[in-house]
């Protein structure tokens, strides 16, 4: 819990909450790494690296289950209320978002393997840019979670728009490739899926930021514009 926070009468309860937080941060680091590697496997045409991302997703899945079980156990045994209740519901949701981000990284790696077998359609410019923003969003949303900082969370929510714009831009560009030359359709579609996966990752990061705002203020902002 945060710095000036009062401790629970039960010290074990504090430990359990802290453990869940630590595990989530670790899960966040794993997913961020998975995105970095999946994009690297695409840019560097490194299919071995891509296969590693797919295999390592298993680790993310195991951690996802472990965190969820800890949260359920705490709900059952402690009956948390107020800020603890908001923390634990937030943790469950963040966990779900991170697990899905891991899946998206694996999806990107799968597409990279296929793309690496074809001649490169064009130099990748917007994809790495998107990936960089998306990773920053994950990192910032988790920082916001740890610091209970709604300003940082709100910035993450705004960042999502940039990703959407880049995704649209990539889509339009690839559309012109496909119109020009039907032989480029397969590669174009794969790149579009990569772009779409990154766009989804940023949606999940935004979801994490939304939950941080809920955790701090008690207000559900998911369906409100940032």
């Amino acid at each position: 819990m945060t710095k000036e926070e009062r401790k629970h009468t039960s010290a074990r309860y504090d430990q359990e909450l802290a453990e869940i937080k630590e595990k989530l941060i670790y899960l966040g680091a794993l997913t961020e790494k998975a995105i970095e590697k999946s994009i690297q496997s695409l840019l560097g045409r490194d299919s071995d690296l891509a296969r590693a991302v797919i295999t390592e997703d298993n680790q993310i899945d195991l951690l996802d289950v472990e965190i969820e079980e800890k949260c359920i156990r705490l709900l059952a045994l402690r009956q948390p209320a107020a800020r603890d209740l908001r923390f634990i519901t937030t943790a469950i949701k963040i966990n779900g978002h991170l697990e899905r981000i891991g899946d998206m990284a694996a999806n990107i790696a799968e597409k990279a393997i296929l793309l690496n077998e074809m001649p490169q359609l064009k130099p990748y410019i917007d994809i790495p840019r998107m990936a960089e923003i998306a990773r920053g969003m994950i990192r910032n949303s988790l920082d916001a979670f740890v610091q209970e900082d709604i300003d940082v969370a709100n910035k993450v929510r705004i960042e999502d728009e940039k990703i959407d714009q880049l995704n649209d831009q990539i889509f339009r560009e690839l559309l012109t490739f496909m119109l020009e030359d039907p032989r480029k359709i397969h590669a174009s579609l794969l790149i579009m899926q990569v772009s779409k996966s990154l766009e989804r990752i940023s949606d999940h990061a935004e979801g994490i930021a939304d939950m941080v705002i809920y955790m701090v203020t008690g207000k559900i902002v998911r369906h409100e514009a940032p």
């Binding site: 009062r6 009468t9 009956q79 948390p80 209320a81 107020a82 008690g218």
Partner: protein
């Protein structure tokens, strides 16, 4: 506050209460709504039970106590000299922490109060016993043993009998002082269901140390600390997003 004026049954205005020179309640102003369940929570010694007992003048029975401010029940100050405390306690019933049936038959437990206040007709009394026990969801368990001693019932049944006994006086309000603290989880669940059922016809004010119970049964919750009302709001708000730090520390188990 989320109350509407015409629905208020109790209105407390700047109430102070003293046991001798010790002030137990300080400047309490709050309203209780009709046909609602209101929970009063707080650590031991915070004044919640004292407040509950003020609402039907139970504290009158303790020497050296003094009340300041106004406690309006349906607009009338219950501490006005011309009010009869017995009549007030008939309209505002109370259920205590430990089941306290009289050492009499189940039947006579229910009819004791009504007989004292003039209901003598056997048929009327029988009807009253059945109605009260049904309302307290005890009828099916005791209908064939009405002449047995109430002391043979289990703790949970005794407590429901005490609720039935209170209901037999046809009160408007039921005050409950930790009504399930001496009961097992099954009996507790039955009493909680009963509270849910009773609020259709009665106003219920409950003091409880079991926070989950307050969260489950009540619509409004007041948090007391050191004789003051710290926060009073919808129960869902108190338990998901309290506005005062002290409330939050208490209900999340960070007190002390």
């Amino acid at each position: 506050m989320v109350t509407t004026a015409n629905n208020i049954i109790f209105e407390l205005k700047q109430v102070n209460f003293f046991y001798g020179s010790t002030q137990a309640l300080t400047d309490i102003s709050m309203d209780f709504e009709k046909n609602r369940v209101t929970a009063l929570i707080g650590p031991s010694g915070c004044g919640k039970s004292t407040l509950l007992r003020l609402l039907n003048r139970m504290n009158d029975l303790i020497d050296g106590t003094r009340v300041e401010g106004e406690i309006l029940f349906e607009g009338r100050n219950i501490y006005n000299a011309d009010n009869d405390p017995v009549e007030i306690r008939r309209r505002i019933g109370m259920v205590f922490q430990k089941p306290n049936p009289f050492p009499k038959s189940i039947f006579n437990n229910i009819t004791y109060g009504p007989r004292l206040t003039g209901t003598r007709n056997r048929a009327d009394l029988e009807l009253l016993v059945e109605q009260s026990l049904k309302q307290a969801v005890l009828w099916d368990e005791v209908k064939d043993i009405l002449n047995k001693s109430a002391m043979t019932l289990s703790g949970g049944q005794q407590q429901r009998l005490c609720i039935a006994r209170a209901l037999a006086m046809k009160p408007d309000v039921l005050l409950m002082d930790e009504p399930t603290s001496a009961l097992d989880p099954i009996s507790t669940a039955k009493i909680e269901d009963l509270i849910e059922e009773l609020k259709k016809n009665y106003t219920i004010i409950i003091v409880t140390h079991n926070m989950q119970q307050a969260a489950r049964v009540s619509e409004m919750t007041g948090f007391f600390y050191l004789g003051r009302l710290i926060e009073y709001a919808l129960t869902t708000d108190i338990f998901t997003n309290p506005q005062v730090k002290q409330t939050e520390d208490y209900i999340t188990g960070r007190f002390g």
